[in-house]
Symmetry: C2
Subunit: 453 residues, 2 copies
């Protein structure tokens, strides 16, 4: 079987075929998951759960967000928790697979064009390539999840007295939830009991960071660990931005909350740094919490809004507009301020078609968060800082909450469901649809420039 | 005297010569104005006013913002009010002159390049052109201000019992404040006493809208009133966006506040529409208020934040990132979603160099407002919605306030002073510096594209 090169006709609309297929697959998984999670079998009370709450939880799991309207620990039976786990794995790994195949198509086409221009033999992405890539993604995911699950299980068993089956279940659930950047936890206060435990916080953080790098980066790191010259611009950008945002976020959160008695203030200095680091990792966009988000300073929320909106690496389990998009916008500004013509990023020139795509993704993201925030303000009496945080967390599929989500009225829950779906499916579909599309201009109009600023 | 064509050497930095001159001129005017306004002669109590408050008021006047920390009506003597009026006229008209000359340089250079490419004779912008343009700007400004001042004076005299001198003074002050989009008023509650008076609200609105269109548009409208084919893309964009934002803003504010008893709720239906329209005009960025801004719904504030951030037309008395910048970003997104290569705006192709300039101006604006809001959050106990509104109002040189500005601590006042200066001088300098600069690339690096979304 040959994976067909996309045809221009199908690509001229944003709703091109691959994007549409992803949108339908996710909607289907949400519907089936929502029905299962609303059934009495999933509810510890043995009765039906409101369909809105079922759909909300399913969307939150499939879109690896982690926002909850019900207490996962006490409301759901083992069956319900298994459904959530499967939805997380399907949504996280599934989207990762699709995203990677889509970017293979993009890279394939660019390779194709390069080969044409250098008069070498042309080739499209083959079925063999697709099978190999899919297998690698699945193997890598399972490998990382298994290692982290084992470490967590040992710790749960040794330090918290879980029996072997309980330790393995807790280890596996949190490892999968972490690697897929889902943020669901099996404790009513998420991971707040473990704020000072590096043996849990650090492996979970590593799983989150690895998953959030995105598959293309993971594969390159595995293949060319030492040979940094072979790293693509994508890999360099993702690693650089991830490091910057992690360090910056850790410093910001730790400094802002250092003396806040409700968050870091009562901990030992080393524990404050661990908790600040852990919370900074969550904005890349896992959504666990080891401190009480609702008790943080509103300025901390505003800073975390930015981190959550940016999110993680493309074609991975992270959400947000992606750190590459943010980096491109940053480099465009630097280029303008320096007065250069070409946007050069880490020693390569940035393809011009990417400029407008980055702006489009970022500004449509701003519009989505803005509309969602406005809706929450109108439907509830909560303050702007909480509404903005909740909307950003949903759009960035982060799952952190100032505590208002469980108390929202159904229409407001609907807004968060829409934002989670848009943030996961919309951003990917839009990004790849823009990149995949053939661009053919039949004629150009005469040029003119209005004033800026 | 020949106005010299800018030399490449001076343009490679953002702090190119013309931009630097504007920055120093404004800083000088603020310093002198601040000293005068702090002097006992300006204070009805006959004592010194705090220098921070004097500098704040001078910045607010020169940058035609209209945010106040003191009650203009009762704190300042006639001398103080005259200083404010002169600062407004100097800042508004002065920047309009400079901005128009800078855009003549830009257009002159583009004309120059076009002529080169079509093998016709080249020419730079001459001293004669500069004198003609400056005279036209001054004449048009004084003409519009005089007509509006006369209408207002008649109304103040006939309906509010002002004696002739008082009516002329009130008419002139508010006409100058309106045309320059300054928003300073001679009443302690700004224009709230006149919420239902169309004879004052409509002339003031017209002066604001005309000043906010910007001089290039005003001149084209005067020269080619009927011949719309001769209108430039800049004129078309400004008129289209102004109409859209005025109508959209009126509908939004009127609908949001319709039943709010503290704003529109107690008025007659027709008066509610008048007040909604008047308040919508203020976001283009005059800053008068005929209703209590502090009593509006937080969702109204959020909507007005967007309108205030966008602002008015370039090279005029309005602030914000300018409606042309916003329009360009909008057209870039539409082009991306349609899958076209060239950004076509109202029948012309948009120069590619403008894309990155629009992004730069808009994103640096977002960064400034974000930093200012964060600062206010940290320095005060006010909520995010009020801090964001105040910061946006200062950056957009709007001057609307939720009521917190007079009570801010000095460092927070300093933040607003910086935002007003940046919003007025920074946006213009940046916009024209980017547009004026020579762009020469000595070599290009090999191209590569990272993933978006
Ligand atoms: K998440
Ligand atoms: K103003």
């Amino acid at each position: 079987m040959n994976f067909p090169a996309p045809r221009p006709a199908a690509q001229h609309s944003v709703l091109a075929k691959p994007a549409r297929a992803v949108a339908f697959a996710f909607a289907g998984a949400i519907l089936v998951g929502g029905l299962l999670l609303s059934s009495p079998a999933a509810n510890t009370q043995g009765v039906f759960t409101s369909l809105v709450d079922g759909i909300f939880t399913a969307t939150s799991a499939v879109c690896v967000t982690g926002l909850t309207v019900l207490d996962t620990a006490t409301h759901y039976t083992l069956f319900g928790k298994l459904v959530i786990l499967i939805l997380i794995q399907a949504g996280g790994l599934g989207l990762m697979l699709i995203a990677s195949l889509l970017s293979m198509l993009v890279i394939g086409r660019i390779g194709y064009l390069t080969r044409l221009s250098t008069q070498r033999e042309s080739s499209a992405v083959s079925g063999e390539d697709v099978r190999t890539a899919a297998l690698m993604i699945i193997k890598l995911s399972l490998a990382i999840e298994s290692v982290v699950a084992a470490i967590l299980a040992i710790r749960f068993g040794l330090a918290y007295g879980d029996d072997p089956a309980g330790a393995i279940w807790h280890g596996a659930f949190h490892a999968v939830s972490a690697f897929n950047n889902a943020g669901f936890a099996l404790y009513s206060n998420n991971l707040m009991d473990f704020v000072a435990d590096p043996w849990l916080c650090i492996p979970i953080s590593l799983a989150i960071i690895l998953g959030g790098l995105g598959f293309p980066v993971l594969v390159q790191l595995r293949q060319h660990w030492r040979n940094t010259l072979k790293w693509s611009m994508n890999t360099r950008l993702v690693l650089l931005m991830t490091a910057l945002l992690l360090v910056g976020g850790t410093i910001f959160i730790t400094a802002m909350e250092w003396t806040n008695p409700k968050t870091l203030g009562e901990l030992e200095p080393a524990q404050r740094i661990l908790a600040g680091f852990f919370q900074s990792v969550q904005t890349r966009t896992a959504g666990f919490n080891s401190i009480d988000i609702g008790a943080m300073h509103p300025a901390s929320w505003l800073g975390m809004d930015v981190l959550m909106f940016i999110g993680g690496g493309p074609a991975g389990t992270a959400g947000g507009i992606k750190i590459t998009t943010a980096a491109i916008l940053l480099f465009i500004i630097l280029t303008e301020l320096r007065g250069e013509t070409a946007v050069n990023v880490l020693g390569k020139r940035l393809s011009r078609s990417v400029h407008r795509q980055a702006i489009t993704v970022a500004l449509l993201g701003v519009a989505a968060v803005f509309a969602g925030t406005m809706g929450l303000l109108l439907l509830t009496n909560y303050s702007l800082d909480r509404c903005l945080f909740e909307a950003t967390s949903a759009f960035g599929t982060v799952g952190l909450s100032t505590g208002i989500t469980p108390d929202l009225p159904d229409p407001a829950k609907g807004i968060l469901i829409a934002l989670m779906y848009l943030g996961r499916v919309g951003v990917l579909s839009l990004g790849s649809a823009l990149a995949l599309r053939d661009r053919k201009a039949l004629y150009e109009l005469p040029k003119e420039r209005p004033s800026i600023g």
